[in-house]
Each structure stands twice: as structure tokens, then as C-alpha cells.
């Protein structure tokens, strides 16, 4: 038995080593693409896939990187932290050292520990939780701004442009929503605007009439809502029915065409902080057309952040003439990169130095336009 086990161990080690050398010698460089391909948020995984595949195609057309052609390999973590760990281990075992992903913050966080340990370079195009880069990982970067930046951006806009008399801050008691709502409330207080109300609603609730009556009684003229579109949609719809006409504002979580479907006319003019629409950038127009030609949607918020993630990697590979992840990470940290989302620079933690968010006004047809 013991003998058998030893043989098995030796054999598998040999296979592993063979596998790794094989990958290193090949003329294709595999880029792991980790995110949800199935499950409730698979639509966001699709956006990431569209962006990465478009970038890889463009780079290969231009001759590849350092003589190597890129190949995207898709791994499905279903936005589940447990599966994300399994996927990370599989990527390591498959001998892939360059990963775009993961998508959900709750998946990125556990997976990043494994990549850090194994020296796998990872760039997430969608995870916005501030805690991810707090661990001091060297191999981790992102091409999207932080949640916490959305809060201060919203607060600045409220103090500078909206200037309401009485503001209420409402949230859905979840990590994302309450965290943002707290940040907004605190920064408004610093700016001299004290929130009249600060309270939570229950996710999944359908009836907000009691809350709306209270907002009406308090003569609130501006509501910041930290949470997602299903609850805010109903709050907007019921506010309109009850003749409560304050200005509403929310984070990226409310930016979804479903908001307009749920709230109808009441969704017109709602403010939201959201990632900039990179598909409008002049530099991306040819790419947008190419993606459309394939019958895919280039407008998703993560399409061009994912595109940029590939660019950041390949830029560094070209500049350092290497695929060694330590060198790449050092290069990315030290140098500015020109990407699909503009010129970007990183701080020590691997976060973007400038926010990629902008304040938008949402419209009842599901579209949005920059707010001024």
C-alpha cells in the first residue's frame, strides 16, 4: 500500500512537471479567464468573456506577444467562493500563470491567496470590494475602481451639485449597500450636511409604503439608496403612486435595465454612480464594431475593463520581454499603461490611482447619460 502510494505520488509529480514544462515551451500563452459562466450572475461573466476574447483576438491579429499567440481558457467559478478556490487550484495545476478574474469580490478574495502563493498574476476587471487589496498581495491588480470611491463620489456630487435641504440615506442592510450608505452619510456629515434619516430595508420586501410615508413626513427632498435595483425599483414606483417626489440616487448596483422595467416612468432622472461607459471612448470604436459584428453586446460595464486587463498584462510582457510574473508585477506597479479604459496607473496595493466611476442620470428607457 505504502509503496503504491509513493509510486502514485512520484508519478503525479512527474506528470505535473511535464505539464508545466510543456506549457512553458509552447508557442501559445494561455490566459486563464475566471468568472461565472453559469449561475445567477452569469450575465456579468459574459461581459468579461466578451472583453477578454476581443482583446486576445486583436493582439493575435497584431502578431501576438513576444512571438507567442494568446489563448483564452475559460474557468467557471459560478460566483461561488468555494468553487473559486477549486478553480484557482485547477488553474495552477494546468500551468497557467496569467489570469483575468475573478469577477465577484467574494470569489476574488479567496482565489487571490492561492495565486499569490503560487506566483500567478491576476487582474480582476470587476471586483470592487476594498478589502481585496488590503492583504498586501503583490500579484493582484484591478482595472476597476473601488466601492469606497463610489461613496465619496456620490457625497461630493450631493454636496456640490444637488445641494438638497433634507437628505435621507437608506440601505438594504447588506455588506455592499450598507457599506456605501455609511460612507455617504459620514462624508456628507463632514461636508456639513447631516442626514435626516438613516435606516435599512429588508431585501426581498415588496411593500415600502410605511417607509415612504415617513420620508414624506420628514419633508425629505433627496434620498441616497445603498443597494440593488429590485428594492429601489419598488421604492420608486410606490413613491410615485403616493405623491412623494424626491430626487433619488444610488450606486452601480441599481444601474440595470430592470430598474426601468420595474419603476417605469418613476425611474426617469434617478442619479447613479457607475463605471464610465468605455464603449463611448474614441479609441474603442473599432473594437465596439468588431464585438457587435460577432453578435455580442459591447455595452456591459465589464467588457472594456476586461479588455484593459489583458492589455495591462501584454503591455508589461512586451516591455519586459518576459512572462515571468514577478517581473510583470513589478513593471505594472511602476509604469503607466495606455489601455482601452484610458491611461492608468497603480498604487502600491494594486488599485487604480484614479476612479473609473462617473455620476450618471438614468432614463426610463433603460439608458443613461452623464449628469451635470
Amino acid at each position: 500500500m505504502n509503496q503504491f502510494r509513493k509510486t502514485l505520488l512520484g508519478l503525479s509529480t512527474a506528470v505535473c512537471i511535464m505539464g508545466m514544462t510543456a506549457a512553458a515551451q509552447a508557442d501559445t500563452l494561455k490566459i486563464g479567464l475566471a468568472g461565472p459562466a453559469t449561475g445567477p450572475v452569469a450575465q456579468y461573466g459574459d461581459m468579461q468573456k466578451i472583453g477578454v476574447m476581443a482583446a486576445i483576438e486583436d493582439i493575435n491579429k497584431a502578431g501576438g506577444v513576444n512571438g507567442m499567440m494568446l489563448e483564452g481558457v475559460i474557468y467557471d467559478d459560478a460566483c461561488d467562493p468555494k468553487q473559486a478556490v477549486a478553480v484557482a487550484n485547477k488553474i495552477v495545476n494546468d500551468g497557467i500563470f496569467h489570469v483575468v478574474g475573478h469577477l465577484c469580490s467574494s470569489s476574488t478574495e479567496p482565489a487571490s491567496d492561492i495565486y499569490e502563493e503560487e506566483g500567478v498574476l491576476m487582474i480582476t476587471a470587476a471586483s470592487t470590494s476594498p478589502s481585496i487589496t488590503e492583504k498586501g498581495h503583490q500579484m493582484l491588480f484591478r482595472t476597476i475602481g473601488l466601492d469606497s470611491l463610489q461613496g465619496s463620489m456620490a457625497a461630493q456630487y450631493i454636496l456640490g451639485s444637488a445641494k438638497p435641504a433634507r437628505i435621507a440615506v437608506i440601505h438594504d442592510k447588506q455588506q455592499y449597500g450598507e457599506g456605501l450608505a455609511t460612507a455617504v452619510r459620514d462624508q456628507l456629515a463632514e461636508g456639513g450636511l447631516k442626514a435626516t434619516m438613516f435606516e435599512g430595508v429588508t431585501p426581498g420586501d415588496k411593500d415600502f409604503s410605511a417607509l415612504i410615508a415617513k420620508l414624506k413626513k420628514e419633508n425629505v427632498d433627496f434620498v441616497y439608496y445603498g443597494g440593488y435595483h429590485p428594492e429601489l425599483g419598488l421604492i420608486l414606483r410606490q413613491s410615485a403612486e403616493k405623491g412623494f417626489g424626491a430626487q433619488f440616487m444610488g450606486p452601480e448596483g441599481i444601474v440595470n435595465a430592470d430598474l426601468a422595467k420595474i419603476a417605469g416612468d418613476a425611474s426617469e432622472g434617478v442619479l447613479a454612480t457607475a463605471p464610465k461607459s468605455f464603449d463611448q471612448n474614441a479609441v474603442n470604436q473599432a473594437r465596439v464594431e468588431a464585438i457587435k459584428a460577432k453578435g455580442e453586446d459591447p455595452t456591459g460595464p465589464f467588457v472594456f475593463t476586461a479588455y484593459a486587463a489583458v492589455e495591462v498584462m501584454t503591455n508589461a510582457m512586451t516591455a519586459t520581454k518576459s512572462t515571468d510574473t514577478e517581473k510583470l508585477a513589478a513593471y505594472i506597479r511602476a509604469n503607466e499603461a495606455d489601455t482601452a479604459i484610458g491611461k492608468i496607473k497603480y498604487d502600491e496595493k494594486g488599485d487604480l490611482t484614479e476612479s473609473t466611476f462617473l455620476v450618471y442620470r438614468l432614463h426610463k428607457d433603460g439608458s443613461k447619460s452623464p449628469a451635470q
Partner: protein, 308 residues
Amino acid sequence: MSEFSLYLLQQLINGLTIGSTYALIAIGYTMVYGIIGMINFAHGEIYMIGSYITFIVIAGLMSMGIVSLPIILIIALVVAMFMASTYGWAVERVAYRPLRGTNRLIPLISAIGMSIFLQNAVGISQGFRDVALPPMVSGGWAFGNPADFEVTVSYMQVIIFAVTFVTMTLLTLFISKSRMGRACRACAEDLGMTNLLGINTNKVIALTFIIGAALAAIAGLLLGLYYGVVNPFVGFIAGLKAFTAAVLGGIGSIPGAVLGGLILGVTEAMTAAFFPSEYKDVVAFGLLITILLFRPSGLLGKPEIEKV
């Protein structure tokens, strides 16, 4: 009236409406329990299916060019009640009848399984995301001073309130006066003996489920129109609240279900009115525990008689 009393009135109206929605679903729970002593946990899902059918029928009729609101609503109601009843009957036939007479826990587990099955079946066929319907019945009355505080009552709120009371009355009459209702009460008392006396108990129980499902479909239509949104999980939360209302009022008692629903709804609204609204469930369920401590069979329930 002062601003405060207007505000109080508005919250009371809100609470009564929420309470009526709980009551409407709770009636179905309590009726099935009253007759076969079993909690039909899939009842919330039948309500959800009722909402979906309403949405599909309304969307279909509107795309066919029919715009008359009463016609749309009547057709939607008839179709939803019929389809939901079919589901109710099928659920009883598949998940409960084969298990009748076994340990009480077994049909309970089977009911929970049915509930999860229906949630996911609807989710897979219709999508897990919210489906929305534009407001159909809009408008209402407003009174009070707009500068101070304006109380609004929408037509939908009045309709929900009225339908709940009409349903409660009709159902109570059906159970206490009709021949079939008498058979139902006999089944509630002693299933085996009723059967021996020549009443087809299978038929009576199936009918109970059909009526319960039809009521859930009415609730699904009204609440679907009121909130304008449905997703595969609405049945779970609504079912939980309705079940609470039924227990609070005394499970098995139809007026009790309505009373329980109204108390629960008003408590929630009043808590949200004067405390941060995240405390509304704490207070509402605290109230439930307190009432059950002093009246274990609920407000209008009869003390449990051990059945053999």
C-alpha cells in the same frame, strides 16, 4: 387634523393594506390546516404561480390588442384561478395523498420539497429575475393639506381590502352552510369515520386544495397588480408572513387568519413609522411569540383536540 394624526392615519392605512395581503394568502393556509391538519408549505408557491399566470395572460391579451381593463382583469382572474387550482390539485395528488396517514412530519417535508421544486421549475422556465408589469389600476384619493402631510389611498389598496373581506365572508358561509362545507367539517373532525359514512374524503380533500389554490391565485393577481413585480421567490416570503398571520389568528380559523394578517400588517407599519424600519420584523415576530405564550392556539383558534 394635525400633521401627526394624518401621518398616523396614513400608516394605519398602509398597515391595513399590507395586512390584507397577508390575510388573503393566510386564508388558504388556514383552510387546508383546518380540514386535514397539515401545513401546506407549497401554498406560497401557488400564490407565486398565480402572479406569473396573471402577468402572462395580461401581456398576451395586451399584445392581442385588447385594452379594456375590466375584460383583461376578468380573463386573467379566471385563467389564473383555473391554472392555479390545477396546480393545487396536482400537488395534493402527487406530494400529499400518497403520504396521508403516515407520520405528520413526512408530508411536511414533502411540502417543503414541493415548494422548492415549484420555485426552481418556475425560475428555470421564466427566469430568476424580476418580471415587471406597468401600473394597470392607478390613481386614488388624497386628502389632508398638501403643505403639511397628504394622506393617499389608492384604488388598489381599497380593492385588496374589499376582496379580502368578501373572500373571508364567502368562505366562512361555504364552510358553515353548504353541503360540501359540512363534509369538510366532518373530515376535519374524523377522516376515517367520515369515510365510513359514505363521504368520498379524497374528493373533499382535493376540493380543499383546489379552493385554497384558487384563493392563492386571487391573491397572486391582486398583489401582482399592486406591486407590479414578481419573481420565483416572492412566494417564500409571502408564504412565511401569511403562515405567521394564520398562526397568530389561530390556525384553522378563517376570521382568525384575517385578524392575524391585519394585526401583523399594522404592527409592521407602526413599527416602521416610529422606529427605524429594520426593526419591523423584530417587533412583529416578538408580538407573535408573546401572543403564543399566552394563547397557544392563537387569537381565535380553538384549543387543539388530540386526534387519534
